[in-house]
Subunit: 93 residues, 4 copies
């Protein structure tokens, strides 16, 4: 059971909404929509995805990382390192 | 006919692949996948979306903006301003 | 003479302000400021730098790229390609 | 004493290097350097700043956040919330 477990339904709903945004983008391309309008939608979908990522990082720290620290030992350091690397990937993407 | 017209199929294909990534994320959440693995996939989908955006901006400049500049007049300035604003939204997203 | 020439003083001023922010960060580290306060200042300096970049891209399109397109020839394509690549580096940074 | 304390000299050195990059940008603008070359340097300075931020977040989790969790109580939750918000600002900048 991971950090986001208690919000599984919420994350599922947000991802289905993003899927809908991506399908909307496919229709826009199909219908020859104006480039700038497509770009506006791409930026909106990107923000929605980043927001999911920020939520997941936060839950992960609150649960998985916190638990590892409470239990102590080398596992705690490994969890913090892993989380730091995931955050670095997000900041750089 | 807009800038990306000659690559419509390519953009459609890339967006369908991103849709597949988003559906994969839904399954991961459903199956209680590990938070960090989900985050890695979110970062990959975000990069793919940004890459679509960069391609669209480039085609837009090559076609719509270039055409407006060739024709001259106030329309050219308006197109450049519009493109600059779209780029600013991308850089900030 | 490049795109930003008429705003040289403005860009100089903005960059000196960013230099001041970076020196402020050095003092914060020196004085053992709280990590989160330092991070807030790093985010502010990053935003200021990105805003300079967005301004430069916009001036570059309005002047250098527009001029190359007006003159036509292979130089125009090369300028658009070069600008697209610079935008891609910004979006990915 | 905060998370980055044991690396204070390293952070000071990195920030002085970034200050040098910003001063280099001022000279480029002063000397009418080509827009795209300036943009390349802006992207490099932005990456260097983000890399400092990622390092600070990582040290902050390893020290301040971990310590708060070990001690338990409401302070731990507050620290995790504060770190999550700082990470969100970074991802969005």
């Amino acid at each position: 059971m991971y950090g986001y477990a208690s919000n599984k339904d919420d994350y599922g709903k947000r991802l289905r909404r993003i899927e809908g945004q991506i399908r909307g983008l496919q229709r826009m391309v199909e219908d020859d929509a104006y480039c700038i309008d497509i770009l506006t939608q791409v930026a909106a979908a990107t923000k929605a995805l980043q927001s999911v990522a920020i939520g997941l990082v936060s839950e992960h720290m609150r649960h998985c990382v916190a638990q590892a620290i409470e239990q102590g030992g080398p596992e705690a350091d490994a969890k913090i390192k892993e989380a730091s690397e995931a955050i670095a990937r997000l900041v750089r993407s």
